[in-house]
Symmetry: C2
Subunit: 345 residues, 2 copies
DNA sequence: CCCGCATCTGACAACGTTGTCCAGGCCCTA
DNA sequence: TAGGGCCTGGACAACGTTGTCAGATGCGGG
């Protein structure tokens, strides 16, 4: 009978609460709270009794209630394009490590390059009251974030700038990297150089194209319409674009690829191609050094991007930073052979 | 004066609450709740007034409070080894997609192959009251999860089984895949075959080694001590292990590598090696088809692993499933050349 | 022996939301 | 026109935790 009553106390499937622990230990609610949070002012004997009750009941503090009371969630959100892209994996991991160092958890979501989905995710994270947000934007209008930022959600944009609002942003030197990569091809004698990149509405794609154009212009080479192709990065489209550039009356002798996925596909196309074609790609790719020839790339450090952004975010949470800033990280040209091929006669 | 008073109502840095919205719209608290949640029983006119107040104040529902009240967080946790590993990126993404389809967010954490950190992460997620957990275990004792599971946290283990508890688990056929991969090498005339794998305490590593031994035994080949090497997968150790196998009085003529990271390093070692050495690796790797020779692999579909696990998890949350089950997904041998090299004489 | 103080403990309110329940107003019918 | 039913809106409690504050307990000094 007493057994039954006791069992009914902690309803099946319901977690024990501090109240249950307090009842079992024969102490007050607040004392349990003190023990759970390691606050001082509890005699060792009381603490032991409470701890025993906690272990016996399998009590675990409910962080939702805690958050509600304290206002901080100790979690940050990361919205990126696609976690399965090898560019974003290390970035996410780097953000997680910084968060961990600050005792925070990371919630991340993939926008799949869809602005609506980005907004949906960001607002869902805000509803969870994340302390901060790291966003790799898919859209180009982030005014919807203004009330959140004003309400104290620290926000840092990475890889691409925010649209229509003033916020911290951490970028790679997309323009300079692409310019130098293309200049590298020009220095090896190429003039007919193709550019295959992501959709033009994506900031990085536009910047890299600008770098390409600038390098060409600096060398006095007029860019022909047929040499540039921007669009989705799925293999089919990229393959068609590459094949188009490589055929026709005056084919390109070199290609600059706008990101890792494009590079991978173009490497495949070139492997099937009879003439050697020079290649420089934006983003490093695994095993690039073992291909024949090795793939020359403009490498950006995605982990460093993530780390820098997360550091900024936590500085902002500490109240250290004031004005939004724009940080630009350098890229690095890694020569491995493919960019040093001379133009086929 | 009135202005000042109004401003003080929503203290700076504090979010507006339903109370604030209700006051501004001149309605009751519950009416706001109804509008926010799309519940019926509100006249269009009232709804409009409430919506205007929401927009004007930039109100966003506090999900912590909601969770506290409702008991469900609509979020699941994923604990894996390292998000930056190309094997786990797609897995995480797949879990996220399933979660999204069920209206849930994904919180993930990297255990860095450290059992303590795994436990710390898992318990932190439980404190947030995630509805479910997908765990790629680093440790081999998960009894600490028992109270959580009993309390209703749906839990599915992936890639490796749980230790000391009975729980759902989704695995690849590590044993069969490795056995078939090694048999493939044997079929091409190899007898002196090396195995380089991850630390023996990791289930997948042990199973793959067992597959290797079984294949060798089936062919009547006694395995020499020097042919197997298990340990951390950092390039230095793997490189030393490979070089040791390839030198000495009777070097191996083929190597079976136990996961993607080992394969990458061994490919590098073999590229510098004079004699051709056959290679079959567990896990597919990007660009493996473009190397000379292409790398033959035993591929597992990490996205499918994640999807399967997440599906199971949500089935369990729906209360559809009863007993824990063990699901094993097949692997696929992809021949590309490196596994078909004949033994060097 | 009693008072005062320090130390430890517990009652209570509050965080922002949702579920329950009731009040009031409206319309329809007899 | 009165009565009944239906529909909308609001007051209130509860979720589990933490901060505040006051009460209890014990000990030492006067």
């Amino acid at each position: 009978m007493a057994e039954t009553a006791r069992r009914t106390d902690n309803r099946y499937g319901n977690r024990p609460t501090m109240k249950d622990v307090a009842a079992r230990a024969g102490v007050g609610l607040k004392t349990v709270s003190r023990v759970v949070n390691g606050e001082p002012g509890v005699t060792p004997d009381t603490e032991r009794r409470v701890q025993e009750a906690i272990d016996a009941l399998g009590f675990r503090r409910n962080d939702s209630a805690r958050v509600l009371r304290k206002g901080r969630t100790a979690s940050i959100g990361l919205v990126l394009e696609d976690l399965s892209d090898p560019f974003y994996g290390p970035l996410s991991r780097a953000v997680e490590e910084v968060a961990r160092a600050h005792g925070a958890l990371l919630i991340n979501g993939s926008s799949a390059e869809d602005p609506d989905r980005e907004q949906e995710l960001v607002l869902a994270l805000c509803a969870r009251r994340v302390d901060g947000l790291v966003v790799i934007p898919a859209g180009d209008d982030h005014r919807y974030l203004e009330p959140e930022i004003k309400a104290g959600v620290a926000t840092v944009f990475v890889d691409r700038p925010a649209g229509q609002i003033d916020a911290d942003v951490v970028l790679s030197d997309n323009f300079g990297g692409a310019r130098d990569g293309v200049a590298h091809l020009i220095a090896h004698g190429h003039r007919r150089i193709g550019f295959i990149g992501d959709m033009p509405r994506i900031h990085t794609a536009a910047e890299r194209l600008r770098g390409y154009r600038t390098a060409m212009e600096a060398a006095g080479i007029p860019v022909e319409e047929a040499w540039t192709s921007l669009g989705v990065t799925d293999p089919q489209r990229v393959r068609r674009a590459a094949e188009a550039m490589l055929s026709g009356p005056s084919p390109v002798t070199a290609i600059f690829t706008g990101n890792n996925r494009v590079t991978v596909t173009v490497v495949r196309v070139l492997a099937e191609h009879s003439r050697p074609v020079a290649l420089v790609g934006f983003d490093d790719i695994e095993l690039a050094d073992l291909l024949q020839p090795g793939v020359t790339v403009v490498a950006q450090d995605s982990a460093q991007l993530g780390r820098t952004a997360a550091d900024r975010l936590f500085h902002r949470l500490d109240g250290t930073l004031a004005l939004p800033e724009r940080v630009e990280l350098p890229t690095r040209l890694i020569t491995r052979g493919s960019g040093e091929l001379p133009p086929a006669s």
